[in-house]
Symmetry: C2
């Protein structure tokens, strides 16, 4: 958390009583990652300039469609675009100029102000998997997700030291009618954790419900003056902005709530098969989307998103953790930094059906690229399986454990006298052993990142204990975490008000299933 | 391969007959990776300068031990070092000055000159796992390695498109007496593959045997004028150079054969617990070792090696794929580049007992760091398991498959007109689909890296086929590869001469078991 975020916390008050309230159900959260290491600038300046010039050509010559959205077309016309039917041709430079009012970073508030996050700059905020209709665990196999599964994932996220963010649709609670799900999901994020969260985007009215619930949790005035949700606005690539997503964006932007403006691209299907071609489309779409957010409300907080997979040209399946996906991530990060905007990409992306070696190779490739590529907000940071069709309980804790390594990697390398360890080198000398020397004794506790999950035991011990693989160790950890879970303390009046609001709103509606 | 390597191939002659001879048993090998992407310079210049200054202090004040090696002590004294007993104090700057005669890159010749490799510069040569006494596969579990296992690994390496190098001790053939193993191992590398390989380092006389066998394979004059082996000289960290390893180094350097001069460090045990302290020791050891190689023969080809793991301070077990290990890899690469020397580090390093998710997370973390950290020679690039105790058949093909992704990643991003794909963006337009467009048709075959192992099938197909995990898919691939294996063509007279030499030498010795 930056100093300004801490300052904000100080001002939001609460004091001793609030601190006492928080002691139960607080499992500790590491601060937002602040990179003390350089980003890897994979693409050269010439290539980035080509992409930027071509993206302007795309916006001007080809244009973008804003579908079923007369209000949006009117805004674009007013701003100087050439609107023909639903097609918006944006003159060179206009979109980029409109994007200039978007903040380079912003603070998203949590109900526990110690868990506020700043999104942008050198920071990296980690949020869990988003969207899968299925869940999987080793005992139950693959099955449709329920609200009970949803709550378990929120609890696991709350207990993860390395996640700063509770995310949004950690899985789709398919046992709840579509038009009522968002109430239960938001209520779970508001009550089962005190970390920041995301709002619903499946209908503009549901986005408004989320704003209203935040009014109860944070106070209506606070919500109008501060960002308390970051929500995911996918673009219908190529170059199409549908009314549902844009409607949600309009609600959130008007209320000063943050949106990730994110092309969702299976490369080769929804974008050209080349890296530079795909990045051109990504940039054009993000420019148009963020410009539109600023037309709704100049200064509304947004994130430059890029969710791009490659494709297996044999089967048509999206593929993850591949070199092309990493190259696009690196390039998109560079483009976002040249716009001085927060950047979202990466995650525990994989195509595997099981939390096996394939899942881990693909995930680690993506996590490494995300850290080195300058991602500021990482959705899907843990728990993603099977191309996003499945939220995996075991993989959630496996990935969350790896996120600890990202924290340590990002912290960089100290070079002070203690880090130089010349005393240790002198004390031990040729042929000696460092385990007992005083420098080691003074530093060993924090010297090395240590997994809380992976197996470091001697072969014989491991063998006697059942020769378990990572999935089995993770299954055990999931059960133990859920047993230990305690809800973070909450003002009972707020909890009651939220429950009453949800009950009343749900009672006023017929069930709908799409 | 560089132009000069190609030139060398041209000069070594052979022509049409040789090409025809090679058609059988050639499964295709991708050229050495040439990075068209930048390295990640993780440490800042200030930190690197501190490390360099401190390493000189270590060499001068603390010194290094050359054990049981009066010849080495005499060479050091002659060069201007302060020798006290077995301790060699090297005045500031002397080691670095001696290192200046080492070449910045060199060509290692293979018996098939198309498979020569250049080691150094922007290149990355990949070689398999080295050293494990055990092997594992899904059917047989973990067991002591045999010569038959060794041959299987050499065959798998020969068939891997992504490995340019056959390596050395792909596993320890424990069924062969220690003093005779090197004959069988080298014979396997010489006959079962036509890729370059490594020599024995377990005794100076065995290193000489390897030079002699290369004389038969390549011709004695050719060996004296060219490098045909790259061998692994580990330093006994901290700061100790034993007579066995130095004896092997002396033989190889005197014969113009390449050595990797490599500290072998479990961080916290054989070096200080800090990154900068460990890098200081690594640099001091490499400076002393490479300087010594140049005392033996100025201009002898060498590689700056760094094999450094972190340690689990709870169990004392070495740990792999951790942030500290990556930080050290990045820093060592920077130090090597500042010396203008080829750099060896990385590999499929992991601590897991099984080729499971842990193995893959740890391996992918290391492979990514090795690519971005500028490694020129990657030993252990595939097949390593259980902290190097085990060569895994399944993991060998799993990792080898991932190496293909490194090749594609390193190739960088094209920005020419075809890569810009503006025609595709214009043809498809908003809301369209790129799968059928002409740009996709023209480019899809080479657009995306495709795994030859991982599962990209629809869930239902995968489920019907047995819901196999990566290990099961890999087991299948190992069996299929070994079934398809064919030895590369070889001059029968050379094969007979090598077999006769080995038989005669083995018959002249008693078996020894240490």
């Amino acid at each position: 958390m930056s100093d300004s975020a801490r300052g904000r916390r100080g001002r939001s008050g609460g004091g001793a009583a609030r601190r006492a309230e928080r002691t139960a159900g607080d499992f500790g959260t590491a601060p937002t990652i602040q990179r003390k290491i350089p980003n890897l600038d994979l693409l050269d300046d010439e290539t980035l300039s080509i992409i930027e010039a071509n993206a302007e050509t795309v916006l001007e010559e080809i244009g973008v469609n804003f579908v079923n959205n007369p209000g949006a077309l009117a805004r674009w016309k007013e701003a100087g675009a050439d609107v023909q039917g639903e097609r918006v041709h944006i003159p060179r430079g206009l979109a980029r100029k409109l994007c200039a009012t978007a903040p380079s970073s912003f603070i998203q508030h949590a109900r526990n102000p110690e868990k506020n996050v700043e999104i942008g700059g050198k920071g990296l905020v980690l949020a869990p998997v988003y969207g899968p209709p299925f869940v999987r665990d080793v005992d139950g196999g693959r099955r449709y997700a329920t609200m009970e599964d949803f709550r378990k994932f929120v609890k696991l996220g709350h207990m993860s030291k390395w996640l700063q963010h509770s995310g949004g649709t950690v899985c789709e609670p398919t046992d709840i009618p579509v038009n009522k799900r968002h109430f239960d999901m938001l209520l779970a994020h508001m009550t089962l954790t005190d970390k920041p969260f995301m709002g619903s985007v499946t209908e503009p009215s549901r986005a408004q419900d989320c704003v209203d619930m935040c009014g109860i949790l944070f106070g209506e005035d606070f919500v109008q003056q501060n960002t308390v949700m970051t929500s995911l606005i996918n673009i219908n690539s190529p170059l199409t902005f549908d009314d549902v997503m844009m409607g949600a964006l309009e609600v959130y932007a008007a209320n000063n709530q943050a949106c990730i403006i994110s092309p969702f691209i299976v490369g080769g299907a929804m974008a050209p098969v080349s890296v530079v071609g795909t990045l051109t489309q990504v940039l054009a779409e993000v420019l148009a989307g963020i410009a539109y957010s600023q037309l709704v409300r100049p200064g509304a907080p947004v994130i430059f998103g890029a969710f791009v997979t490659s494709i297996d040209m044999n089967s048509g399946a999206p593929t993850f953790g591949t070199p092309e996906a990493s190259q696009i991530l690196y390039g998109a990060g560079q483009l976002a930094r040249r716009m001085n905007l927060p950047f979202r990409s990466g995650g525990s992306l994989c195509g595997s059906k099981l939390p096996d070696a394939q899942a881990a190779y693909e995930t680690a490739n993506t996590l490494n690229a995300a850290l080195m590529g300058g991602v500021n907000f990482m959705l899907h940071a843990c728990g993603w399986l099977e191309g996003g069709l499945v939220s995996s309980f075991e993989k959630f804790v496996m990935d969350a454990d790896q996120l600890g390594a990202l924290h340590k990697m990002a912290a960089g390398v100290a070079n002070d006298e203690n880090a130089q360890a010349m005393d240790a080198l002198r004390e031990v000398g040729p042929g000696g052993h460092f385990l007992g020397c005083s420098h080691t004794q003074a530093n060993y506790k924090s010297a090395f990142w240590r997994s809380e999950l992976l197996d470091y035991k001697p072969f014989e011990t491991w063998d006697e204990e059942g020769a378990r693989d990572t999935q089995a160790l993770a299954s055990d950890r999931v059960a133990k975490l859920l047993e230990r879970y305690q809800a973070p303390a909450m003002d009972p009046a707020k909890a009651e008000a939220l429950a009453a609001y949800v009950a009343q709103r749900k009672a006023s509606m017929e069930d709908a299933f799409m």
